[in-house]
């Protein structure tokens, strides 16, 4: 029986599959972060930033992107909506 991945790849040229697989494997190979480090980094970043401003914890995204041969760590940290109420008079 054809696997789910096999179904997805049907009709796709093998060179295209090779390129996509290589792209992912190279990101992993080039990464200097040990496994699990991204999760730790994410938690610690949230902790530090939360001291100053309220963060929407569930929506925080952390990823490594490629820029030529160099890598970039991108963090997208949405802040919680704060109501600017008028102070009590």
């Amino acid at each position: 029986m054809r696997s789910f991945a096999g179904l997805l790849n049907r009709g796709k040229r093998s060179a295209e599959t090779a390129k996509e697989r290589l792209r992912l494997v190279l990101i992993h190979d080039r990464s200097t972060l040990p496994p699990g480090a991204m999760e730790t980094l994410r938690d610690e970043l949230i902790e530090v930033i939360s001291r100053h401003v309220e963060v929407d914890r569930s929506a925080v995204r952390l990823e490594i992107t490629q820029d030529g041969r160099s890598q970039r760590l991108l963090a997208d940290i949405p802040l919680k909506h704060v109501n600017h109420r008028l102070p009590d008079l």
Binding site: R13, R23, R69
Partner: protein, 279 residues
């Protein structure tokens, strides 16, 4: 007193190491052919086999019957450097220093390689070093004296992955930017969508290109005879190696459809410009 002529010659000469990470991608064939092509251009060239224990540059160049001394004999002082130099049968300006066959990599150190290459710089325009596969001692020996590094790869997942690893190491060792040779490309397969195209490999590796060599059965035939295909005037594959030699010597040679870039020329030349900007 410094002999300025000798000093100038030493400064102008280049040590270029050919490596790949993965074995069997065509390092030795590339070294022999680029060496022969550079010598054909009139440069004085020595090809050095750094694959101690698994030497092959001698048979690819057809010089295996002339070996008396080897690299380890030089390192251990059993002979003078010039006694280990074997002159090519066809080209006056081409020489070989063979590796030892009965020893292992630990017989030579990176320092030995730097010392020997500094000696060779006085007499040669180009020292081409054929690196062993892998990233161990033999590879470290091979890149230690290098001014430039050529990485040979094939348009195939494991070869590209290993090339990426080597490019990273070369950069970390401050020997970069490495230059890429894509060897054994089959344009029919690329056009069918069943082989990575030159542009794909360049996009993945983000490195400068110096040559595209077609997949050609004639290479095996020339290796059977011990005669580099770069010396076959009519061969397109030979032309691909001659183009690499010209680019190394500083000439601008376009990647056109006639030298292996195929219908991808437009996309490819764009990639190359991007690559050069980063260099």
């Amino acid at each position: 007193m410094v002999d300025w002529r000798e000093k100038l010659k030493t400064d102008m000469s280049k040590v270029i190491t050919v490596t790949s990470g993965k074995g069997g991608v065509g390092k030795t064939t590339a070294t022999a052919n680029i060496g022969a092509a550079l010598a054909k251009l009139g440069h004085k060239v020595v090809c050095m086999d750094a694959d101690i224990g698994l030497r092959n540059l001698d048979v690819v160049l057809g010089l295996e019957n002339r070996i008396v001394y080897d690299l380890v004999d030089v390192v251990e002082g059993r002979c003078k450097l010039r006694q280990a130099l074997i002159r090519d049968k066809r080209l006056e300006e081409l020489y070989l220093i063979p590796a030892a066959q009965t020893r292992d990599k630990s017989a030579v150190s990176p320092k030995d390689m730097i010392r020997i290459c500094d000696e060779l710089r006085k007499d040669f325009d180009y020292v081409l070093i054929d690196s062993p596969a892998g990233i161990e001692r033999g590879f470290k020996n091979a890149i230690a004296p290098a001014d430039e590094i050529i990485i040979v790869t094939n348009p195939e997942v494991s070869a590209v992955r290993d090339a990426d690893r080597i490019i990273g190491i070369v950069e970390a060792e401050q020997k970069g930017p490495a230059k890429l040779v894509i060897n054994r490309i089959n344009m029919d397969m690329v056009e069918r969508g069943d082989m990575l195209a030159v542009a794909d490999v360049l996009e993945l590796l983000a490195v400068d290109l110096i040559g595209i060599v077609p997949d050609d059965q004639a290479v095996l035939v020339s290796t059977n005879r011990g005669a580099p295909i770069a010396l076959e005037v009519k061969s397109k594959t030979g032309q691909a190696f001659r183009d690499i030699a010209k680019r190394l010597a500083g000439q601008e040679v376009a990647f056109t459809s006639s030298n292996g870039a195929g219908g991808l020329f437009g996309r490819l030349s764009k990639m190359i410009r991007v690559g050069n900007k980063n260099a």
